[in-house]
Subunit: 525 residues, 2 copies
């Protein structure tokens, strides 16, 4: 069964002979294609409220899967979930200047607590103005820090390891569904520790949780590394990220883990008595992953027929479409499909029950089939009267949709054979999506850049150039500003300093000084 | 094993010979006791942000269990989860006058999207004033209605059955943790249908989902019924509720289901072409249950030693406390406990894996034991060196904490016997909590009231009088206002008109006219 090698589409786009389900291809217009996938897969839509989206069942179902699998890992590493207020008093922010600078420009501010009718219009009641305006949380370090200061008195109270699933608001001027919306959903972990070492261990542990979650569950290969100084979270001593490569070569920051040192414990007074009886400030961390991950999933796994969802995060992994014809055969087809779905749901895959669905909606089977292809259900089964008679099913694997002649690769398999291999097939889809993306990522990191001219040519030569891994001297302060400014002129950014690459052995391409490490450079979302 | 009859504590308070874990008893001060439970069980605390609380891991863990079990039932009845914007433009509210009237007085209003420094203080930037203020959702009929109007074109698009888990804000003047907070967490279901009958079926189906969920999962016996006209949700044609009785005799509305008719489809233009080709307005419903349920759980199941959590919603059902003494025996005790927890977690109860926890924290065993009693873990196991040697465990059942002589009823059981009966014991705790509350509810509904004087005396005679089920003529408009006014003078409210009671056969105690049904009257939260 020659399904062909994993695609490394980024630099070898092949002209596709197939008529695809979307009206626009990735090659034609990647941004328009992205919107088309979201719309055709019924994932989300504009809400009519500026910068906010409506997440529809298929999109939200993927988020529920992400929540479940990430939450399990967050709990397995000793964290407990809490819930903190949506509103943060301005005075909490005033205590930490750098943090304020990072967020003040994009904060939604609540100023009134009542509406009245005036000249037939609803307006905020001037009599109900808040004494202290409240900010809708853009992130919760300040309000959670205030709670930590109540909870932590002695070294015995440490570590505090908590997480919250919440909505946050950052008033973005330019929004894009899932990638940058004024309101988004995320989890934010917050921890407090007695020592720098423990807090750094936590920071790196959660970075690794994000890396393994992204790779194992979302099939999203990433590069884990430290952000350069200019890209740190406002108030952090060190910020780490996982970076994923989209099919247009751009980078998406898909999760961050911050070592905050004593920035917030100083501002919020998180102090403890150590074993020697002295007062110390706690060392804190925070780390977050958001609905942005769904944007990454689309741009890494989608194709010109729509989304392809990795089975572990697919709301439905196997969808069974009965080919009904309004004849008396229909009842037998439905019974056959029902039994099939029941048998599938009784099996386990990835240590959870299989999620198979019988699509009973009153619509044409072909429309339903293409609907599920666009949504990216990993396996679509069709069952007609002849399949029932022969004890067969017709199987479509979303990761291998077409035969070499461009026709849909729908395969007739004995039902019992399919039942015996369904979970292996799901594992195969998960693996194939990861391998395709993994090959693309690693084939498209250029390690040969020796000068700024090399870098310029690389990004000038291709519309989808991937990233460059370059040697640098890790400049700071004004010297770093100069580097960032130059990169900005080329529409480039520093992504991160990967943890797992060979040591530097040459000259910094920016400063000419001896390089001390390697940094990833690329365009980004 | 004479554990005594189910407690109907409401009218037969018995003097307790036991020294209890809380500093205040239910008898002494029910409101102070409620706060003490929340605080001593580490469920929640004041946040420092007006009207908002911090929900701590034990409180949030109960909410996660409620979410999981209720979400399963919501999905099993055909609903899908979505997510809609936190912010609602004022113009959406202006379209539905009655709805506005119900909520305008308690809305948090966002008026600016940026902060600036001014005279060393952070203030909303006057240059960043929103053209149209945004309300933080108090409920989402309007913004979800706007989405429905995009989704619904033809009768084929109906029904639309969706739900969202979200935070909402109602600016309450007097707040009380879990019962009435400015921000709270809930689920809100919203559906659209082609006919009144289908929408009414949905309204009643979800009322029944709430009733069965409350009774089966939270062990909270409730009375399901229709709210009188004056208690309807703003904009509803009919509102149904489940009402639970707290241990102080007051009623708590624990969930509501609304038939909204065409109120919101008219305001938001949710129209469809029917099978005959004509345009019709959709019939909509909404229904919600919130973190308030946790307040009800506390006030129904708590006792003078703290909370008692029904096993189905307990974050940990069985907590194993090793009695360590810093001797070399400790390792054997921990191994024994570990194996026990592993064996428990390998069993199923209520069709889910058992949730047993080994409490390894470095604290005194007695403190840990009392900590778990206050938190209300259904079963607490203690294991010391002698238990290990004898192959035993010491078992405390939270619903039967004391022997008749007032000592803790800790029972030594062979470990294998305990393993064999642990799930039955958990089922027994769940059942016992329900039965105690059920007896209390039904023993404390007075069905003998024949006049307003009777009603007055009933509520004057006791500080915890329960409810009265009285016959009435179902007055409307001004006549109903008069009844409500009179009741208000007695600090009473109409709760609901129960679905499952015998027909009326006498005179209305309020109007003297022929009664048509029976209505519940009581004090309320």
């Amino acid at each position: 069964m020659p399904y062909g090698a994993p695609s490394s589409a980024l630099r070898q786009p092949k002209v596709d002979p197939v008529k695809h389900a979307l009206s626009v291809t990735r090659e034609q217009d990647f941004a328009a294609w992205y919107q088309a996938v979201i719309s055709e897969a019924d994932m989300a839509e504009e809400s009519g409220v500026r910068g906010c989206m409506v997440i529809r069942p298929w999109g939200y179902g993927i988020w529920e899967r992400i929540q479940k699998l990430l939450d399990d890992r967050i709990k397995a590493t000793g964290h407990e979930n809490c819930y903190f207020p949506l509103f943060i008093p301005l005075s909490y922010f005033e205590k930490e200047a750098e943090h304020v600078d990072g967020f003040a420009k994009e904060m939604a501010v609540v100023t009134h607590h009542r509406l009245i009718q005036k000249d037939g219009k609803l307006v905020p009641d001037p009599e109900a103005k808040l004494e202290e305006p409240l900010v809708v949380r853009p992130t919760s370090e300040t309000v959670i820090g205030a709670a930590f200061s109540r909870w932590v008195q002695s070294w015995r109270d440490l570590p505090v390891l908590i997480n919250q699933w919440a909505n946050v608001v950052r008033w973005e001027m330019r929004t894009r569904m899932f990638l940058r919306t004024s309101e988004f959903l995320w989890q934010e972990g917050h921890t407090a520790h007695a020592t720098v070492d423990e807090a750094m261990d936590e920071t790196m542990k959660m970075l690794e949780v994000y890396r393994s979650f992204a790779e194992e569950c979302v099939a999203l290969p990433v590069i884990a590394g430290e952000k350069p100084e200019n890209e740190r979270f406002p108030g952090a001593v060190a910020t780490y990220s996982i970076e994923a490569m989209m099919q247009d070569g751009k980078a998406l920051q898909a999760g961050t883990s911050h070592f905050l040192g004593t920035t917030f414990s100083r501002a919020q007074n998180i102090k403890f008595q150590n074993a020697e009886g002295q007062q110390e400030l706690a060392q804190t961390t925070s780390w977050g992953m958001s609905t942005r991950m769904i944007g990454g999933l689309i741009m890494v796994h989608g194709d010109d027929d729509g989304l392809r969802v990795p089975p572990r995060v697919a709301p439905h992994q196997i969808v069974v479409v009965p080919m009904l014809r309004d004849t008396e055969e229909d009842a037998a087809i439905l019974d056959y499909c029902s039994a099939l779905v029941g048998a599938l749901n009784g099996q386990d895959v990835f240590r959870e029950p299989v999620r198979a669905l019988l699509d009973r909606r009153p619509a044409k089977a072909a429309n339903k089939r293409w609907g599920w292809i666009k949504k990216g259900a990993p396996i679509v089964i069709e069952v007609g009267g002849r399949d029932v008679a022969g004890g067969n099913v017709s199987v479509l694997r979303r990761d291998r949709l077409y035969r070499e002649d461009g026709k849909l690769d729908s395969r007739i398999i004995a039902k019992d054979d399919f039942l015996a291999q369904a979970t292996t097939m799901l594992e195969g889809v998960q693996q194939a999506l990861f391998e395709q993306a993994h090959a693309r990522l690693h084939d498209n990191i250029d390690r040969t850049i020796a000068s700024l001219d090399d870098l310029k040519s690389l990004f000038a030569a291709s519309s989808k150039p991937g990233w460059a891994l370059v040697q640098w001297s890790k400049p700071t302060g004004a010297a770093l500003d100069k580097v960032v400014e130059w990169l900005k002129g080329e529409k480039l950014t520093l992504r991160n300093i990967p943890l797992d690459v060979e040591a530097a052995d040459g000259a910094c391409i920016f400063t000419g000084q001896a390089a001390v490490e390697r940094v990833l450079v690329g365009r980004s979302y």
